[in-house]
């Protein structure tokens, strides 16, 4: 049988999607979500362990020999879309988006090989301590210094840090970047929760004061691991944004069919219908670019960094727009605390800021595409009809 091509959906991916949707409906509905938001940790460890163990949703892109399911970033993206659609709480971005791919790409070591299966199983959790509101670049490891295995420095706005058992830290050592691991609770590690706009994913400040850590990679190895982590997280974040946008489109369209004003469903008003049509167009583009990014990360086809920037620039804008329009089209009820729209809206705001804004990614696109232009090499214009 043929190898899957880009945009094919395998039977297994369809089953995965359906399985996760059922799980979210039964074990993580809105009531559960709202209850978890009010707890200290903000998520349920038992539920997280089920996601890893029973459902295998945390380790889809981890090779089998490292304790994973041996799938690809595309498989993991399918999961991210579904978990995003239900706003499933827990350190997904920190653990699955960032820490796991960093470890997968790091050189083999006893520490790495012990940690990875635990994260995959959901028995431990992790976060990546690095500036996570800008795209990966030379400054990513600059805030923390690594000196003889001891970490010193401060990084603010780190998602999932408070919920993490292990902190992977991007640091600057004497020979270039360093990727190191330190357990929460170790002397010299202070994690201070910050109030977060996104109620479903918490951020914290991490202060490191000579904390003793295990070095996992240095120099080019560390750079490669971190770059892979940011890429993968970018593709998975885009998939999450797609899942959110699709869920909100469905919610809004359903409401527009039922809500009556002036004696007719509001969806029959053109101003409403057209906004829904634009949401649909956005969701289609989000899905395509997110899939393409995951595919590119998985297969190396296309330039993965460019593909991820295309996805991030597209999905951040679409997801935010769709969330804002969801509030608008629900009218007053959409502005209440009781209605779920605000939970999604806040996630959309946070997702758009994480790993680089749409503008930051467009700047990357401009650098890759526009600055490389050679006037003579551009194909002659072709004018399209329609």
């Amino acid at each position: 049988m043929a190898e899957p091509q880009e945009f094919d959906v395998t039977d297994e991916q369809q089953e995965l999607r359906a399985g996760l949707r059922r799980f979210a409906e039964r074990a993580h509905d809105e009531t559960v979500l709202r209850a978890l938001i009010d707890t200290g940790e903000g998520y349920d460890r038992a539920l997280w362990a089920r996601l890893g163990g029973e459902l295998g949703a945390l380790a889809l892109a981890v090779p089998e020999e490292l304790g994973g399911a041996g799938g690809t970033c595309v498989d993991q993206a399918v999961a991210a879309e579904e978990l995003g659609a239900a706003l499933v709480t827990g350190p997904l971005l920190g653990t699955v988006g960032l820490a796991v791919p960093a470890l997968v790409a790091a050189p083999a070591s006893a520490a790495r090989d012990a940690l990875l299966p635990e994260l995959a199983e959901g028995t431990r959790t992790a976060a990546l301590v690095a500036p996570l509101t800008v795209p990966y670049d030379a400054a990513t490891a600059a805030a923390v210094s690594a000196d003889d295995g001891r970490l010193t420095g401060t990084v603010d706005h780190v998602p999932d840090a408070a919920a993490a058992d292990v902190l992977l830290v991007a640091a600057a050592g004497p020979d270039g970047p360093v990727l190191a691991a330190v357990d929460q609770g170790t002397a010299g590690v202070t994690v201070t929760p910050r109030g977060s706009l996104d109620l479903t994913r918490r951020i914290a400040r991490v202060d490191l004061d000579g904390a003793p850590a295990t070095v996992l990679a240095t120099g080019d190895d560390a750079d490669r691991a971190l770059r892979h982590a940011f890429r993968t997280a970018g593709a998975l974040l885009a998939a999450e944004q797609t899942g959110i946008a699709q869920r909100l489109l469905d919610l809004t369209v359903g409401y527009a069919k039922e809500r009556l004003q002036f004696g007719r469903p509001i969806g029959s008003f053109q101003a409403v219908k057209h906004r829904c049509a634009d949401m649909l167009v956005g969701v289609e583009h989000a899905r395509t670019t997110a899939l393409h990014a995951a595919w590119s990360v998985a297969s190396g086809v296309d330039d993965p960094d460019l593909a991820v920037s295309i996805a991030q620039a597209t999905c951040s804008e679409v997801c935010y727009r769709v969330a804002a329009d969801t509030v608008q089209l629900h009218g007053g009820i959409g502005f209440t605390w009781e209605h779920p729209a605000h939970l999604y809206y806040k996630r959309a705001v946070a997702d758009a800021a994480l790993l680089g804004s749409a503008e930051a990614h467009r700047e990357r696109i401009a650098a890759a595409v526009l600055d490389a232009l050679d006037a003579g090499a551009v194909p002659a214009p072709k004018v399209a009809t329609g």
Partner: protein
């Protein structure tokens, strides 16, 4: 984790590519006469790979047509769509589905594919544009023939067309969608008068067409009497897909023009224009990838209303790209003095004329959100037919057409 999906498309891809390469080897696309090359592609089932065998196809998925087009254009060949867009994109699927018999279908399709016979679409009328089903042109039966009277408008390529797809009213006493019948009319017969209509670019791609007792044999009727709306929907759905659905390489198509200008004018770069171009480029890429995704999942059947997504996006993107280009050029964009009237050359290529200027293309792009259905109508279709939102309340669907106010 990833198990292969159940598809045999990759063997089909190879088969189509091999067959195309064989045709290209035997008829060099740069030198062979157009009709010879296109005729060979038709005979090999490569004109429309999703058509049945013997009608220019191989019964494969429609997405594979891109494989053929890619190989032919890479070898320097023209695209049938560029020369005979209305026949190729909209006439063909309508004929395949509704021609009275296979012989008639083949008789129309081969010269359509070779571009020896150009087709046009006589739907719009002065009183019926977005609301095509409200049209007034009448068709009255006379023995084995129908006699048509009325006026059509905005008819692209009518002046060079051999055949026209025409929708006419055969029963004014029924509600508007139910009194229509669809015909293929010979544009070269007496009683068909074509007058050029000049457009804001100065050129004339389209025309007014007057029908005075123009006769159509009943054998050139597509579909049942009174069922013309269904047939018209086939044409319109394919129109959207054809218009919105041309994929190329990354950075090709209309966005290439903006990239070229950007590279030529470093003196005009500003951060704001840079962000605008990066945004347009990103949207163009999302559009291109979405078309590729649609192609990957396309079947042999009719395109669905999703074609309206690409039509809508493509049209609005074209306009914004040209607006960007004009802004980038600054005051120089205002210098333009060639308002001579060009007509399509029979290749149907006025607006793709390599000699056209940026200003002409900019002006031409204003039509993109009107032709083939306005953006407002596309959004209605997406809202109602894809998302299932309720329609506007209507006063016209159940009344006899002749009682509905028009103007």
């Amino acid at each position: 984790m990833s198990s292969p999906p159940t598809t045999d498309t990759d063997t089909d891809t190879e088969r189509v590519a091999d067959a195309t390469r064989a045709v290209v080897a035997a008829h060099d696309p740069r030198t062979a006469p157009r009709a010879e090359l296109f005729g060979a592609l038709y005979d090999a089932g490569l004109a429309w790979v999703h058509h049945p065998e013997g009608l220019g196809g191989l019964g494969l998925s429609r997405g594979l047509q891109a494989v053929v087009d890619g190989i032919v254009t890479d070898a320097g060949g023209p695209r049938m769509f560029a020369v005979n867009p209305i026949g190729y994109g909209m006439g063909a699927p309508t004929v395949v589905e509704y021609a009275p018999d296979r012989e008639q279908a083949a008789a129309w399709l081969r010269p359509m594919a070779t571009c020896e016979e150009i087709w046009c679409q006589l739907f719009s009328e002065p009183g019926a544009g977005s609301d095509v089903a409200g049209l007034a042109t009448s068709a009255v039966r006379d023995g084995d023939e129908w006699v048509l009277n009325g006026q059509k408008v905005w008819t692209t390529l009518a002046h060079v067309a051999r055949w026209g797809m025409v929708v006419a009213r055969t029963d004014p006493d029924r509600p508007k969608h139910r009194g229509l019948t669809y015909f293929v009319i010979d544009m070269e017969q007496p009683g068909v008068e074509v007058r050029p209509l000049r457009q804001m670019t100065g050129q004339a791609e389209f025309n007014e067409v007057y029908l005075h007792d123009a006769r159509v044999p009943d054998a050139h009727r597509l579909g049942e009497v009174g069922a013309g709306w269904r047939v018209a929907i086939t044409t319109l759905m394919n129109e959207r897909t054809a218009i919105g659905g041309v994929t190329g390489r990354r950075g090709s198509g209309v966005i290439a023009e903006a990239l070229g200008l950007w590279a030529e004018h470093p003196d005009r770069h500003t951060p704001v224009l840079r962000d605008r171009l990066a945004r347009l480029w990103t949207r163009a890429e999302a559009h291109r990838l979405t078309l590729a995704r649609a192609r990957r999942t396309a079947t042999a059947g009719q395109p669905g209303p999703e074609g309206s997504v690409s039509k809508l996006v493509g049209a609005e993107l074209n306009q914004e790209v040209y607006e960007f280009c004009m802004d980038l050029l600054g005051p120089d964009a205002l210098l333009y003095d060639d308002w001579t009237m060009h007509r399509a050359d029979g290749g149907g290529r006025v607006h793709a004329d390599p000699g056209s200027t940026l200003q002409q293309r900019f002006l031409r792009s204003r039509a993109n959100t009107i032709e083939g259905g306005t953006s407002e109508v596309m959004r209605n279709i997406l809202g109602e037919r894809v998302l299932g939102l309720p329609g506007e309340p209507r006063s016209d669907s159940d009344r006899p057409w002749k009682e509905v106010p028009r103007g």
